[in-house]
């Protein structure tokens, strides 16, 4: 995520995670003008959501990404 931002490969990053370990990376990118949006499952991952530019709830529309079973 940082490498691609450094290369100027994106304007907005979408981060599908709830892991607060990623907060420093998001803050680092925010300081350099990269916008990261968290795709999460609130209230889980609040720390990361707070560090991100914005966040949205994946679970509400999860049927859009569900694959039919075998």
């Amino acid at each position: 995520m940082i490498r691609l931002a450094w290369e100027g490969a994106y304007d907005v990053g979408v981060l599908a995670s709830m892991d607060s370990d990623l907060v420093p990376a998001v803050e680092f990118l925010a300081l350099r003008g990269r916008k990261i949006v968290q795709a999460g499952f609130p209230p889980k991952g609040t720390d990361l959501a707070t560090a991100c530019w914005a966040s949205f709830d994946v679970f509400a529309d999860r049927k859009e990404i569900e694959r039919a079973g075998p």
């Binding site: 995520m1 979408v14 981060l15 599908a16 995670s17 949006v37 914005a54 949205f56």
Partner: protein
């Protein structure tokens, strides 16, 4: 002789390039946990359509922040060995092989800690070159 009147340059619509980064285990396990709770089950495996996921997340994110124009520039799924196998499965799918790739499908990369990233679009020779660069 007078210079011809300058023609207005049509405005180029500004697009926002969006990349998606998926923390595979964190995402999959949380989804399983929430779905199990919603169904009042002890456990549930939510089957994610990984081809749809990236473009869908990009669209939802842009909708959330009110970005009208965006291009989906790829998804990187980070995780362990299982994620590498997922990438290989996608690479073997008929749509993938026929080259009828949408922009959405064209840029899935899989990253495994301690290993160079694997782009399942690329032929073996290019992959070797990529590895050299990353190593």
């Amino acid at each position: 002789m007078t210079a011809p009147a300058a023609q207005p340059i049509p405005a180029v619509p500004q697009t926002t390039r969006v990349r998606v980064f998926v923390d595979y285990w964190n995402f999959q396990l949380t989804l399983n946990e929430r779905e199990a709770a919603a169904r009042h089950l002890a456990d549930f495996r939510f089957l994610v359509d990984w081809k749809k996921l990236g473009p869908w997340l990009a669209k939802e994110a842009c909708g959330t922040v009110g970005l009208a124009n965006h291009t989906f520039d790829g998804v990187i799924i980070g995780g362990g060995k299982e994620v590498q196998e997922l990438g290989a499965d996608l690479a073997r799918s008929p749509t993938w092989r026929l080259g009828a790739l949408s922009r959405a499908q064209a840029a899935l990369r899989v990253q495994v800690p301690g290993m160079p990233p694997v782009d399942h679009r690329l032929p073996a020779r290019r992959l070797r070159e990529d590895h050299r660069v990353h190593n």
